[in-house]
Amino acid sequence: MNLDFTREEQEFQQSIRDWMQTNVPDDIKRCSAVGEMTGKELQQKWERLLGGQGWLALTWPEQYGGPGWTATQRYIFDLERAMAGAPPTSPFGVAMVGPVLYTFGSQEQKDRWLPGIVSGGTLWCQGYSEPNAGSDLASLKTRAERKEDHYLVNGQKIWTTQAHWADMMFCLVRTDSTVKQQKGISFLLIDMKTPGIEVRPIYSIDGHHHLNEVYFTDVRVPLENLVGQEGMGWTIAKFLLTHERTTIAGVADSHHEISRLKKAVAEAPGFLDKSQARQRIAELEIELMALEYTNFRTVAATDEGKPFGPESSGLKIKGTELQQKVSQAMVELGGMMSLTWDNPETVGSNVFNRATRRYNFLRACTIYGGSNEIQKNVLAKMLLGL
């Protein structure tokens, strides 16, 4: 039992902290100080900077471009990244399609796609959900018909985050409608520049454009863009669900948000009851501590090469609930200071000014990737045997 970072890990933490201090671009720091989103340009600048360091595909085996870090190091990196005010990296390439490719892909596929992910050069998006296949993903309808030398894809995806930024999409499609729902699904890589693809924006209630609808009309996808075999799509999707849980709880970003909140309260005008505010924040910090040590257990287990323990099953549920709570606290402690949607930075501007943007944004976090209700259904069945 040892609940401290080792001396080596502490040194690693310090070195990352130092690096972040020097290297996180000022325009990114400015965004994060006032709670603004980084757009595509800044996001990609940041990811390429990390890619150049070899610090993007953190979980990958070294042979494919991973930095060879332990889970603890990755955790520490994430923490210092968040505390420096830098955004999380986009998960679609490094955390999703990458591991799929080096696990299920052919040598050609690996050679072709992995380097762009490692460097931050290629942006990916995930084509899973459809209008009538949200929680019930297995009922998806987008179909890919096998032709001579290509698949012909027709259908529609929705909630496709960053589809408007992406070079490539990995996509679940139905290649066989004669077999049981899950069995007819395949995993396809689609170039977003292919004719027949139309991306329509969906604006979110934080006022930003993250999400899209993607329409496919007779889109021709080379046969070699199939990953694994036809019908393996569901297996691959499930593989991804159980992959890497060491940062799923959002502990690092919650730390950063709480620290911003504490700063905001400290700097707030005198009418805010600061003792009361600090107690509300203390409740959140304590919840975060419980989550953090639960997360540490998963990190430690990962480093010991053990499978995820039962502690990891609640990480997403608790983590997203906490993110929402922290954000709500920021809005409510801001009180009337949170009333502004786009206060020009002239008079009385402060952290609270953009608090509601994030509060709105985060309503989605208990919904996407399987709503917390669906997660509980699954846990009741799989883990509790109900």
Partner: protein
């Protein structure tokens, strides 16, 4: 006790609902939030013709003698329709303040409000004083007014602001031409416009001083209770709309081959929303009746409790409405998220939950049923 809306109030509410149904829509709202100037001339005129401008004011003040309950029903419908027309900000709030001041000069201004000739708004808050409205940070030194007002509703489109300041430690209520100030407009959480207004040695003539001292404090205190009740009315309209839409969605949206309303967890979520909505309705009726009382204790007890309660339960209903809707709930395309923002907005105006809980804890005790 008797909880039936007076016939006249029902008529007012029904008329408001019908008017908004015919003349307002989610599409208009969405254009509305993108516009800079947010008063639509034809609707503004129509609202005046519907009698809304005179509704909040006594006949002796030149109004139509409506109760707070009457006004609350109009505002509830505005909330239910997501309508951002600044009826409360530019008619009710400045008008009630003028009426509560009750001087010849203020009542003369009020009659301009009722006639639709005046464009007024209230500037009561600033970053430094926050909810401590009786001690604003703005100072009147002799004839010079200096300081700032923030969160000014209506975004400074009014031509005159009813503003608070301290003069030798005493509260004064002033009518200041907006032309004399620097106004920085921005969008508020609910989609409307608010402004920061800077007063840099603005010259104040005697005629601009509407009230001072106890008189000013009392008028302000009565105004706030009135506006807090209307915050609740607006939230009730939105929360009711959220509940209805979410129930409907649960009955029609299918996942795993069944309507999601068939899942017990969704059923319990919706029952909780329904029960809370019933309690919100009770609190709305309570506050709408009591918050215009001349008895300060009765008024504050009602408005403080109602606002604190709404900031908890109406917010919760709005959060659950999104959760049950899932992905579509977080898009600008659907009204759900807009109602959510409206509810959040109103939960923060005129005192947030923590402020009101603390305030309630300091009120005198009354015997139950009194």
């Amino acid at each position: 006790m008797e909880f039936n809306l007076p016939e006249n109030t029902t008529l007012i509410a029904d008329t408001a609902r019908r008017y908004l149904k015919d003349n307002y829509s989610f599409e208009i709202y969405r254009q509305h939030i993108e516009q800079q100037n947010h008063v639509d001339a034809s609707r503004w005129l129509a609202m005046q013709e519907l009698g809304w401008f005179g509704l909040p004011f006594a006949e002796s003040s030149g109004g139509f003698g409506g109760t707070l309950l009457d006004v609350a029903m109009v505002v509830r419908e505005l909330g239910a329709a997501l309508c951002l027309d600044p009826y409360v900000d530019m008619v009710v709030a400045p008008g009630k303040l003028l009426e509560y001041i009750g001087s010849d000069a203020s009542l003369a201004m009020l009659s301009d409000v009722i006639d639709g000739r005046a464009k007024l708004a209230c500037a009561l808050y600033d970053y430094h004083a926050g909810n401590q409205v009786l001690t604003p940070s703005m100072k009147l030194n002799g004839k010079r007014l200096s300081g700032q007002k923030n969160f000014v509703p209506d975004g400074g489109f009014a031509d005159t602001l009813l503003a608070t300041a301290l003069a030798d430690g005493e509260l004064v209520l002033l009518a200041v031409p907006v032309a004399d100030c620097e106004t920085i407009r921005h969008r508020a959480l609910d989609g409307g416009r608010i402004a920061n207004v800077l007063f840099d040695e603005v010259e104040i003539t005697d005629g601009m001083i509407l009230a001072r001292g106890k008189k000013a404090e009392q008028a302000l205190s009565m105004l706030l209770a009135y506006l807090q009740a209307l915050d609740c009315a607006r939230m009730y309209g939105a929360a009711g709309a959220l509940y209805q839409r979410t129930l409907e969605y649960a009955k029609t949206r299918r996942q795993f081959g069944v309507a999601i309303g068939g899942f017990q967890i969704i059923q319990h979520y919706l029952v909780d929303m329904f029960i809370d909505l019933q309690q919100l309705e009770s609190m709305l009726l309570m506050v709408a009746v009591k918050a215009e009382s001349e008895d300060a204790s009765r008024r504050e007890r009602a408005s403080t409790a109602a606002k604190a309660y709404y900031a908890d339960k109406a917010v919760r209903i709005a959060q659950q409405a999104i959760q049950i809707h899932g992905g579509v709930g977080v898009t600008e395309e659907l009204d759900i998220g807009h109602y959510f923002r409206l509810v959040t907005h109103c939960s923060l105006t005129h005192g947030d939950r923590a402020h009101h809980i603390k305030r309630f804890a300091g009120l005198d005790e009354v015997h139950p049923g009194e």
